[in-house]
């Protein structure tokens, strides 16, 4: 609300009193002088708030015998007793005199007067300000939660912001009318800047996505890499929770651990870099332990993508040539990144190909909910709705079996202390949809949703990056990845969900990382 107020020059400020804080606004209003200072009969005037008054206009109004200038100060405090916000205010005449309670009552708009007459001593009275200890007028909070419960029932009712919905409902009783702009959803802001240059002189750009709600994501079009994810903890403290580098040359150019990148054309492994499709054998780059890993020597995360800002985010495009790393067909890939007002990072993938091929894409940020530099996974709790996983052989390739997690170290179906379960080596877990990871100390929670049938859980066993962001050193177990994907080596396992994409077909995937806090 403060952000909106700043934009509108609406004069709301945050004030502090010892450990508490509250919102405050001072303004000038004008009312009809003739009807003023009468005892509590019904009034025909409605308090008009006029924030555009300049000093000259105010003086002119003061001299105009019909108008009465009043200076009003509004405070919004949180009541621990009632668990709701409460509106306090004081109203003074230009000579400094405080309005009496009767005068205040007489100024309440006509449509509220009936209610006021029945109940005024419990509705709007003078009380001691809980922080300042001075007399203030107050709208009594005892019915706020009922009011807000009714508002919440209306479709789209309290969706955006509780304080704004509440203040716009009760404020008018005391001449405080919130401008409609407060209700408009924040527009996501995306900015673009130059980030670096590739070895062959091409520009790399960085995009910053802001959702106006404290969260921020940064991407570069080299590798479509997510370089920063900044989200609040339960106390509102914002931290960057993804591992990465400060600059291109610090590590993104070779990206040995695939920090933040979009992995393709095939994420994870293909045994011996070889597969058969339509009676043809294809040989791909072998770059890891005798297998293809993460798209080969230079997978999608080490390529320069085209990029542009869209209506709600950033679109990245890459065309992977026929034969690149041994893959058949020219594959066109679109990946769209969006940061929602609900602190969700949503990634939509699409790909098509000119020849039958295999495609398996994923996003590869490393997370640490305590902050990217935390160094370990202590305090993290993980839960995965996965009954099965794909066990691996000694070459890190799935055996082809789909095994139950029950009774094994891969059973994360109930809240599990992540760090203590670490010796459960990065296994493949086949399942549907939801994973929840939560860090107790910061209260940060991340829910991962995907349309993909599998999720690779990787706990940074091999990471050794002494030149991380801001001087951080990332070592073993310093972060975790949850890579939504099709199972590894699917081209060689006809029982696994297929990764074959033929001309005319479209590979599609959506993965969503939803950030929230638990208090």
């Amino acid at each position: 609300m403060l952000a909106c107020s700043d934009v509108l020059d609406d004069l709301w400020e945050i004030r502090y009193f010892e450990t508490e804080c509250y919102l405050s606004k001072k303004t000038i209003i004008n009312v009809n002088r003739n009807k003023f200072q009468s005892e509590s009969e019904s009034r025909n005037e409605v308090l008009q708030e006029d924030t555009s008054l300049s000093n000259d206009e105010a003086t002119e109004m003061y001299n105009n015998t019909d108008c009465q200038i009043l200076s009003v100060e509004y405070h919004v405090l949180y009541s621990e007793s009632y668990s709701v916000p409460v509106l306090y205010f004081n109203c003074h005449l230009p000579d400094g005199r405080l309005l009496t309670l009767n005068e205040i009552w007489s100024q309440v708009p006509l449509n509220y007067q009936e209610r006021l007459q029945q109940d005024r001593w419990t509705f709007l009275t003078q009380v001691e300000h809980p922080y300042l200890g001075r007399p203030f007028y107050q709208l009594h909070p005892c019915h706020t939660d009922k009011l807000m419960a009714m508002v919440a029932k209306v479709p789209g009712g309290v969706a955006r912001n509780y304080v704004i919905s509440w203040l716009s409902s009760v404020g008018p009783v005391v001449g405080l009318n919130l401008r409609p702009e407060y209700g408009i959803p924040e527009k996501m802001a995306v900015t673009k800047e130059k980030y670096a240059t590739t070895a062959d002189g091409k520009d790399i750009n960085v995009y910053t996505l802001r959702n106006g709600r404290q969260s921020e994501v940064r991407l570069i079009d080299w590798g479509a890499i997510i370089t920063h994810i900044r989200v609040p903890d339960k106390n509102g403290q914002i931290d960057d929770i993804t591992l990465g580098y400060d600059t291109f040359k610090d590590g993104y150019d070779t990206n040995p651990f695939y920090f933040g990148g979009i992995i393709g054309r095939y994420t994870n492994r293909i045994a011996r870099g070889e597969f058969r499709l339509d009676d043809q054998t294809y040989n791909l780059t072998v770059n890891n332990g005798g297998n293809l890993l993460h798209g080969g020597n230079r997978g999608f995360d080490k390529r320069l993508w085209e990029s542009e800002i869209t209506q709600d985010g950033v679109m990245m495009r890459y065309t992977s040539a026929d034969g690149e790393e041994g893959f058949p067909g020219e594959a066109r890939v679109n990946v769209h990144f969006r940061l929602t007002a609900e602190n969700e990072l949503v990634i939509d993938f699409k790909a098509t190909c000119t020849k039958p091929t295999v495609i398996n894409l994923t996003s590869h940020p490393y997370f640490n909910l305590a902050g990217h530099a935390a160094g370990s996974l202590e305090g993290h709790t993980i839960r995965m709705d996965a009954e099965n996983y794909t066990p691996l052989n000694e070459n890190s390739i799935p055996t082809g079996e789909i095994a139950r997690v029950k009774g094994t170290a891969f059973d994360l179906t109930t809240d599990t202390d992540f760090a203590q379960r670490l010796p459960a080596v990065p296994g493949n877990v086949g399942f549907d949809h939801n994973f929840v990871v939560y860090h107790a100390g910061t209260g940060r929670q991340m829910d991962v949703y995907s349309t993909e049938p599998g999720v690779q859980v990787y706990t940074a066993y091999y990471v050794d990056a002494p030149k991380g962001k801001g001087g951080a050193k990332y070592g073993q177990w310093s972060g975790f990845c949850l890579e939504a994907q099709h199972y590894p080596d699917s081209p060689n396992n006809p029982t696994f969900p297929s990764t074959t994409v033929r001309p005319g077909e479209t590979y599609k995937q959506t993965t969503k990382y939803a950030f929230s806090v638990i208090r």
């Binding site: 621990e80 007793s81 009632y82 005199r97 405080l98 009496t100 309670l101 001593w121 419990t122 009275t125 003078q126 009380v127 001691e128 809980p130 922080y131 300042l132 200890g133 001075r134 007399p135 009594h140 005892c142």
Partner: protein, 225 residues
């Protein structure tokens, strides 16, 4: 609620000796005599000072301004009732999330000021369905303002919280060496008293425990004595 009826009775009848004297800067002629009164502890100044005001206003020529930036203006009994009722409501919000006060009829609210006990009994309820969630209290340490925080009657392990626990929670920096006294209803209450018992027996009619933390009086003979 109060099984210790004797304590409730004593409290209800409690009085404070007060000396009213006219402010120096209001004195026009000779200084009027001070007024001494035995004021009921469970009441509010505006309700018991009508005669005192009348007496002093005879000795003052002009109307001095009411200190509106410091004191609540109580032009009549209704204003005091309103402060009383809103405090009672806040106490029930803390104790029972307002469920009891909201289940009462409007006439009960209005009558509470006069027919206190039967209605108050309901507000003091502490059963399984309507257990007390937070203890309503305010701590007064200085001239202005008070400290009010959320505080549960029992710990997570089910142990009764005592007055000492509450003081430690709200004023962790209070002198340990006994320099300060903690007074409720004018009594220096033992620190190990369960706070729930205190809430049921030593609350004021507005259902709050109003707790004063004052300095230990010095042991040397002062001018006043």
């Amino acid at each position: 609620m109060g099984d210790d009826r004797a304590i409730l009775r004593e409290n209800w009848d409690g009085r404070i000796p007060v000396c009213f004297s006219l402010a120096e800067d209001e004195i026009e002629q000779e200084k009027p005599e001070n007024v001494f009164a035995h004021v009921p502890r469970q009441s509010y100044f505006p309700l018991v000072t009508e005669k005192v005001s009348k007496y002093f206003s005879q000795h003052v020529d002009k109307e001095k301004e009411f200190p509106e930036s410091e004191l609540l203006h109580c032009p009549g009994r209704e204003a005091v009732e309103s402060v009383f009722m809103s405090t009672v409501k806040e106490a029930d919000a803390l104790k029972h999330r307002s469920s009891i006060i909201n289940s009462m009829q409007k006439k009960d609210h209005k009558n509470m000021f006069d027919q206190f006990w039967p209605i108050n009994k309901k507000l003091m309820e502490n059963t399984d369905e309507e257990s007390i969630k937070y203890i309503p209290f305010r701590i007064y340490q200085s001239e202005t303002g008070f400290i009010q925080k959320l505080f549960r009657p029992f710990s997570e392990e089910g142990q009764e919280h005592t007055l000492d626990d509450l003081i430690k929670h709200v004023l962790p920096d209070l002198d340990e060496d006994g320099n300060k006294r903690v007074l409720i209803q004018g009594i220096e209450v033992p620190g190990e008293t369960p706070i729930l018992w205190l809430s049921e027996h030593l609350s004021y009619p507005d259902n709050f425990l109003h707790i004063c933390v004052v300095n230990q009086p010095s042991m040397t003979i002062s001018d006043h004595w």
